[in-house]
């Protein structure tokens, strides 16, 4: 779920971009120094596996996987600007029928690391591969749109008819309905090319054929992955990857606090390394004491939206008045401290559903109050709804592996001020997911969650969390919010091809949903990363809240 997948994203992908930290921090010294070509970049990852099989990956376009695989389209992000979809292997796509049919044209002269040319058939094969049951686990937004409900992948000899490759450069997707964000979908991992006919083996991830600047040199399970230059990658044909270092070494299974200590010490190889995981509040507090280390901490300006989901299908939270009371009852300030020690490190208090850094976002606050909340107003709303004595025995479920205990306890304490009594129930990840995402009849009233869109469109912010189709059955609509009007508006916005126009529609939907108060936005969670002194061009743009790995280089 949001929480868990988010974690997975963090671990599997690492990121990196820029610059501006919280407290108006200047771009760090190292980031300012211009990195040269060459050197060995080290990435210290908590994760024990990195899935280089595009079909199985949920990696963002700008993190680890992007070093090895190119995709049909790419992301361009920079500080102070919303992320844009840009050409990668192909152009950004054209539609002639209002978003139902999309055609992409690949650049000339592209080659895989083994020297064979990359054709539209290889892209098609890659997408088809993601339908095979053996290659599950990746981002699958395309599957429904391509109408592949009964399709079980290309290894059984069948092709997916909705993808056409009239020639080696052209690829056409015929969608089941108009979809304006298809160019964004084409930047998800499944749109990386796999040489046609290859990749049937389960361990393809360990020797995947590269199209990006690096190829997999060695893959030692659980220990490290060494990437070396792909001789067949042509930098002039790639506008999203700088490909500066000669080698990239990803050390796996690193303990986060040890990583933080090592990078703070900044000696030897660690000077050209950065940590792929968030720096924890404890580590941040520690880094404050070390001027050199402090200057090498990069904090995102914004990030995933953390929210309290209210189960809108279960009494008494099926009453919008009651739900609105929660908007005032929570204490966003205590939540900030519980998550990172200070508001500056935790991230701004959130009032909208669309996260910062996304095209078309509008800032508004339907329920203005102090950061500490307004328990009196909450009580009044509850009284209006017929609960003058408050609420008792609400159940708040938690995903145990997300370290949300303190945050949940902060919520629990805040709600208590408005006479809302909550019991916290901590579940293991699978049990939590089964209850929130799969169950038809869940018993929870509240749950804490956070959501980072998988691509920089408000669509990815709103649709997975609030469309009726996303309730249960594996969807992430955990407030179980269902409003035919909103569903219709979502479909309309999704089919809008013009980005600016679509953005406006999404902003309106944002407001419309919050009027019903299915969730209480808490904060836009900031992420902090630390890097060694020789790592240059290490920035975090407005979206996503991860460094852009593709631009990082080593300074001399």
């Amino acid at each position: 779920m949001p929480g868990k997948k988010l974690l997975a994203v963090v671990l599997i992908g690492a990121l990196g971009v820029s610059a501006c930290g919280a407290n108006d921090q200047k771009p760090s010294d190292a980031a300012a120094a211009k990195p040269d070509k060459g050197g060995t970049l080290r990435i210290l990852s908590e994760s024990r596996t990195i899935n280089f099989d595009p079909a199985k990956s949920q990696s963002l376009a700008i993190t680890t996987l992007g070093l090895v695989h190119r995709r049909l389209t790419g992301w361009q992000n920079a500080v102070g600007q919303p992320a844009k979809v840009v050409p990668d292997l192909g152009d950004t796509g054209k539609t002639t029928d209002g978003g139902k049919t999309w055609t992409f044209v690949l650049q000339e002269g592209l080659k895989f690391s083994d020297g064979t040319p990359i054709t539209s058939a290889d892209v098609k094969w890659g997408v088809e591969r993601s339908f095979a049951p053996a290659f599950g686990g990746g981002l699958g937004y395309h599957k429904d749109l391509l109408g592949g409900a009964d399709y079980k992948g290309p290894f059984e000899g069948k092709e997916l008819d909705s993808i056409e490759t009239p020639d080696a450069k052209t690829i056409t997707f015929k969608l089941t309905r108009p979809y304006g964000d298809w160019p964004w979908i084409a930047s998800t991992p499944a749109f990386a090319p796999v040489p046609k006919g290859k990749g049937a083996e389960a361990d393809y991830q360990e020797h995947a054929i590269a199209s990006g600047p690096y190829q997999i040199a060695t893959y030692s399970k659980g220990v490290e992955v060494k990437l070396s230059r792909n001789p067949n990658w042509d930098g002039s044909k790639d506008q999203v990857r700088a490909g500066l270092p000669d080698d990239v070494v990803i050390q796996l299974g690193q303990d986060a606090s040890v990583v933080s200590q090592r990078l703070a010490a900044d000696s030897g190889d660690d000077q050209s390394a950065f940590g792929a995981s968030f720096t924890s509040p404890a580590q941040l507090a520690q880094l404050q004491a070390n001027a050199s280390a402090k200057s090498r901490v990069v904090t995102s300006k914004s990030g995933a939206i953390a929210y309290l989901a209210l189960n809108t299908q279960k009494a008494p939270l099926n009453n919008p008045k009651v739900r609105q009371a929660f908007q005032y009852a929570v204490n966003k300030s205590a939540y900030q401290i519980a998550s990172a020690g200070t508001a500056a490190l935790a991230g701004d208090a959130a009032t909208t559903l669309i996260t910062q850094g996304i095209e078309g976002r509008e800032q508004f606050d339907l329920y203005p109050s102090k950061p500490e909340g307004d328990p009196e107003k909450a009580k009044a709303l509850l009284a209006e709804a017929g609960f003058a004595n408050g609420l008792d025995g609400l159940s708040l479920v938690l995903n145990k592996s997300n370290n949300q205990t303190e945050k949940a306890e902060a919520i629990q304490a805040a709600l208590a001020r408005a006479n809302i009594k909550v019991n916290i129930r901590s579940l293991e990840a699978d049990a939590f997911e089964t209850e929130t995402n799969l169950s038809d009849n869940p018993t929870y009233d509240l749950t804490l969650s956070s959501w980072q869109p998988d691509f920089p469109s408000a669509n990815a912010n709103i649709q997975p969390l609030f469309a009726t189709s996303e309730i249960g059955k594996g969807g992430y609509n955990i407030s179980r919010y269902s409003n035919p009007e909103v569903d219709r508006l979502i479909e309309e916005a999704q089919s809008t091809v013009d980005a600016t126009e679509a953005g406006k529609k999404w902003a309106a939907i944002d407001k419309r949903i919050l009027e019903d108060s299915p969730v209480v936005p808490l904060i836009y969670t900031r992420n902090s990363f630390i890097h060694g002194s020789k790592v240059g061009n290490f920035f975090i743009a407005d979206f996503p809240a991860y460094p852009n790995y593709l631009q990082v280089g080593i300074t001399k």
Binding site: F135, Y141, G253, E428, A429
Partner: protein, 329 residues
């Protein structure tokens, strides 16, 4: 003799089967679904069903257990056609969470855990026995008192507490020893040893304490035996009395304890490896528990049970070597 060995082997296999079965049942009851992970995002019920079928989770649970057992002897194949995954015999399961044959996972982590355990055991048995013997010989001296006080502290201080303090003081404050760096022995033996120095010492401090206490009391007991008096009456030098006559008898319980501790190595490794961030079996186990990776868990528990059984057998065997009374006739 042959019959005895056969009975023993049979018993070992039965123990392992029971361990495996209990592990299986307990973890099967845990709400868990590895197919969820392979299902993708968003995870539709159709995708989930496909993933389940592919992994063999659509069978009834008892049948899955027998399929698992069968795999040990015949190997298993998941899925069909070009994308099928083959896990050759002995197949201790295939982890879809980690996309690996479990045996391969264990084999990959084993060197770390063994490096840790064997190095530390050599240290703690050696130092523990030496200190225990010396303390017993100098009973009531300051050395004896210090050894006893130290051993009570060693027994009382949790490994993770001592480990953390060690990392903090020696690793980060004084920068004497490296932290969180495991180098395979084959790659660079010196860096291998240097990287493990701190964990070895910490483990040796905690475990060696038991050996000090055990050796000391055993030594005191042995030194009051009649045969020690006989040896002295023969005119045997005191050094030989201690080093030959007493020590050989003292070693018996030490060997037993070592065997038991070695058998439970995996359980202990869970905490040690977490503290020292070492990529060993304990870490694999705890990751598997947290991610409900049933095949890996089953494989690990079976392996752990196997270690215990083997350790017991080795203890029995070395008993026979050390103590003629225990020899089979």
């Amino acid at each position: 003799m042959t019959k005895h060995v056969a009975a023993r082997l049979g018993g070992m296999v039965l123990v392992l089967l029971i361990v495996a079965f209990c592990t299986y049942v307990v973890f099967y009851l845990v709400p868990s679904d590895p197919a969820l992970l392979a299902c993708g995002k968003p995870c539709t019920p159709e995708n989930l069903a496909l993933a389940r079928e592919f992994m063999g989770f659509d069978e009834p649970w008892w049948q899955q257990f027998f399929t698992f057992l069968g795999g040990i002897f015949t190997g298993r194949t998941f899925g069909t056609g070009a994308t099928a995954i083959h896990c050759s015999a002995p197949c201790f399961g295939y982890s879809f969470r980690q996309n690996t044959d479990v045996l391969e996972l264990i084999a990959g982590r084993l060197p770390v855990t063994f490096s840790l355990a064997i190095g530390a055991a050599v240290l703690w048995v050696g130092v523990g026995v030496a200190v225990g013997v010396y303390a017993a010989l100098r009973k009531d001296s300051w050395f004896d008192r210090a050894a006893l006080a130290g051993s009570v502290i060693g027994v009382s201080a949790p490994v993770y507490l001592v480990g953390l303090l060690g990392i903090l003081v020696l690793g980060f404050q004084l920068n004497v020893v490296p932290v969180g760096n495991y180098t395979p022995f084959a790659e660079d033996p010196v860096r291998w040893a240097w990287g493990l120095v701190l964990p070895w010492c910490v483990l040796a401090f905690a475990h060696g304490a038991h050996y000090v206490k055990l050796t000391r009391s055993q030594m005191l007991e042995t030194m009051s035996e009649d045969f020690i008096r006989t040896a002295r009456a023969k005119g045997v030098p005191e050094r030989t009395v201690v080093g030959k006559h007493a020590l050989r008898n003292v070693l018996l319980p030490v060997v037993t304890l070592t065997g038991i501790e070695f058998g439970s190595l995996l359980g202990g490794a869970v905490i040690t490896e977490r503290v020292f961030s070492l990529p060993g079996l304990g870490g694999l186990l705890i990751e598997a528990v947290h991610s409900r990776d049933l095949p890996t868990l089953l494989g690990c528990t079976l392996f752990a049970g196997f270690l215990v059984v083997v350790a017991n057998a080795v203890v029995d065997l070395s008993y026979g070597l050390l103590d003629p009374r225990a020899r089979l006739t």
